[in-house]
Symmetry: C2
Subunit: 432 residues, 2 copies
């Protein structure tokens, strides 16, 4: 199975993660060789800037300008793609590597979310491994945990905090009382958020990861286009305070659930109990919770980003390859993946938090209550603090279990009331 | 690698876990066959009581009186040992199975704690798999997580709640205010604790699991005899209340740490911050926290016992075998395991909680304080509530970082004071 021959790696992309991989493979070389029975050697790299010091001696390593050339280097056994992006050079290079008979390890969730099934088919038909532990939840062994550790189970649901930037922003908003824009600006200064933060704060990054996790959990085709996506731009300090008061935290969650209508996939802000696994996960950490028919709930928490944790995940995949282990890409052979069948969000049944800004005058609450009654939406708790006759005041309530379709209908009607001054803010409650 | 041929299983021991495995393999047969490319079939079993209904049709399955006969059945590919016990029939049968060229899957932590290295050597020299995910932390994929998911890391420390019975008892004591003996009796009535609870409450079961986890984490020989073991019989409702007041929970933890003196392994009650992963894990749940040099901390939480979760772990091992995957038993080949070198507990440096029952009279505190000063033990917080001149009152303090040896010396001196009425209760504080 393994014969002591070095496993030769080509690393495309030497940013934060690529630099971390080089550092890890060098620092823990003896350990890796002891664990796998063979050395893991970086023999070639590609990156835009050749002059930058990456803290590792690269003098004996072949340099390529173009990742696609590195991908077909005849002396490379495994192509490690750390470039990013769903298309363009990353996709070309990965396809070239597979066509040239090389295993591929990637941290690229966008690529997998858009082309995962096609790439898995290519890899498996050539007897190659396509591995991507680092693409979801950073250093947490979430892919291995689901695909192998919980392989005996029908997974009923998987959910988690999949974007550390959003979780950092929401945590900071709560602990400092500041508003979204203010905390985001700080996060950008500190390097926790990108200059263009939209992939993170609009939920796209979490949705990429959720689509990949869903495929692994349910043995189904990656179906990114069916993910319902809402980001955190509309979450206000006011809502975070109300959440606390009601015993909840606001988190951006990715949730995938098998339902009678198909697989439901959604990324949006949720209220979750403060002591639930996701409620208790603050700051830049990620959490993944899987619910299997025999194992029940399993919770995995750790660092979701950063050079060290992501490199740990990339090299775990290399260790598997070096040990001669391989598993179907998404847990079942690509040809046997279940066709994507998306359950519409309108069929969600659950609880809701709603906040309105209304004119404080007699009859407003009666009007809202009548609208809810007409849609069969049953109120659970209702909060209105202080009075300011004739001025804008927040009105907050939570509902008992309600259909999403009815809730949306009620919100549309409420939004059109004269006394309602801003679009209603609705946050789904998940009592995990 | 896999060829569609059924993987034929022999299950020895049909108690709670064995019954769960039969049920899982039957209920999720299609799923398992889809994930592995071949059917997983139970073809033979052994158990003492043939007549008991286990809710699964066993009419086409061969029955053995003796597990050692089942172990050498020529039509069995994998021997699943669910008998338990460090020696006797479980050990004989596992050795017989390996000698007959069969893979072994076991949930038997006692067997592995005492004979793990020898069995690993036997298995590996014959090219066989010895797998034991179910032996540690029930349904949590802790062994796979460490041995494969975090394989790129030098593990610095692993700790966790490894015994659900103890965690249930400690949680009940806190939430109901009742004493140990009372809660234990209830747990026995409910089936959460054995008639003879000593393996659980005296820390032996947790120590077996810790010894196995340590071997996997550090690639070292299983060294059960070096585990320092204290159970929870001495934890009182009083200490649990003081812990709460100080911001801690009392947990029975297993802790393994690489130190300059060797590997430290200990099982004892700890005070951990209420919001730490182990502090937040209540009831029958288990938690495992690993700290790796690149990944930092990873937390895994789930059900540590019960038919379903344990069967999930056993069958995950079968899925690996069916997929043709194998990994060195303890993460590095048995021949390359590091010799056990135990770090003495006397070298521990950390914080301590101490409670005394003293006679309430002038000068007592001064006497205790002088003893601590003489041993260079620096007090952090000190609590004495109420007064009852001439009677017994509790006195509690916590220390700054202190050497275990100095602490033990100070406690011995304090215990000998006339005004100290009971042996001092000391609980180590771990600020994870």
């Amino acid at each position: 199975m393994v014969d002591g021959k070095p496993l030769r790696i080509g690393v495309a992309g030497l940013g934060t993660v690529g630099g971390g991989v080089l550092k890890l493979v060098s620092a823990n070389a003896d350990l890796l060789s002891k664990r796998t029975g063979r050395p893991i050697q970086v023999v070639a790299v590609s990156a835009r800037d050749r002059s930058r010091d990456r803290g590792v001696d690269l003098s004996n390593v072949r340099w390529y300008e173009d990742a696609a050339d590195l991908a077909v280097d005849p002396d490379v056994d495994v192509f490690v793609e750390l470039i990013g992006g769903s298309d363009g050079i990353a996709k070309q290079a990965v396809e070239a590597a597979l066509a040239a008979g090389k295993h591929v390890v990637t941290a690229n969730k966008a690529l997998l979310a858009h082309h995962g099934a096609a790439l898995a088919t290519k890899a498996e038909s050539a007897g190659l491994t396509l591995a991507f532990e680092a693409a979801v939840a950073g250093g947490i062994p979430a892919i291995k945990g689901l695909r192998e550790g919980l392989a005996a189970n029908n997974i009923r649901e998987v959910h988690g905090i999949l974007n550390g930037t959003c979780n950092y922003i929401l945590t900071e908003m709560r602990t400092t009382g500041r508003d979204f824009a203010d905390v985001l600006a700080d996060a950008q200064r500190l390097g926790y958020a990108e200059a263009d933060p939209s992939f993170d704060v609009d939920g796209v990054d979490a949705a990429h990861k959720l689509a990949v996790l869903t495929a692994v959990a349910f043995g189904a085709h990656v179906d990114f286009k069916s993910v319902h996506i809402e980001g955190i731009r509309h979450v206000s300090a006011l809502d975070i305070n109300y959440a606390q008061e009601l015993g909840y935290r606001i988190r951006l969650l990715g949730i995938a659930r098998r339902t009678e209508d198909g697989i439901e996939q959604r990324v949006h802000p949720c209220m979750v109990p403060i002591t639930s696994p996701c409620g208790a996960t603050d700051g830049v950490f990620n959490a993944v919770v899987a619910d299997g028919d025999f194992v029940d709930k399993v919770v995995l928490v750790g660092r979701g980003a950063g050079a060290g944790p992501t490199a740990s995940a990339v090299v775990a995949d290399l260790v598997d390859i070096a040990r001669g282990r391989s598993t179907p890409t998404f847990g079942v052979p690509a040809a046997a993946l279940e066709p994507a069948k998306a359950a519409p969000l309108s069929r969600r049944r659950g609880r809701y938090y709603v906040r309105l800004m209304v004119v404080d005058r007699p009859g407003v609450i009666a009007e809202i209550a009548a609208t809810l009654r007409d849609q069969n939406v049953s109120m659970e708790a209702f909060l209105q603090r202080g009075r300011a006759p004739g001025e804008a005041v927040p009105v907050v309530w939570t509902t008992h279990d309600t259909d999403e379709a009815a809730m949306q209908q009620a919100l549309a009607t409420i939004a059109s009331l004269d006394s309602v001054l801003e679009p209603p803010r609705m946050i789904r409650i998940e009592d995990f």
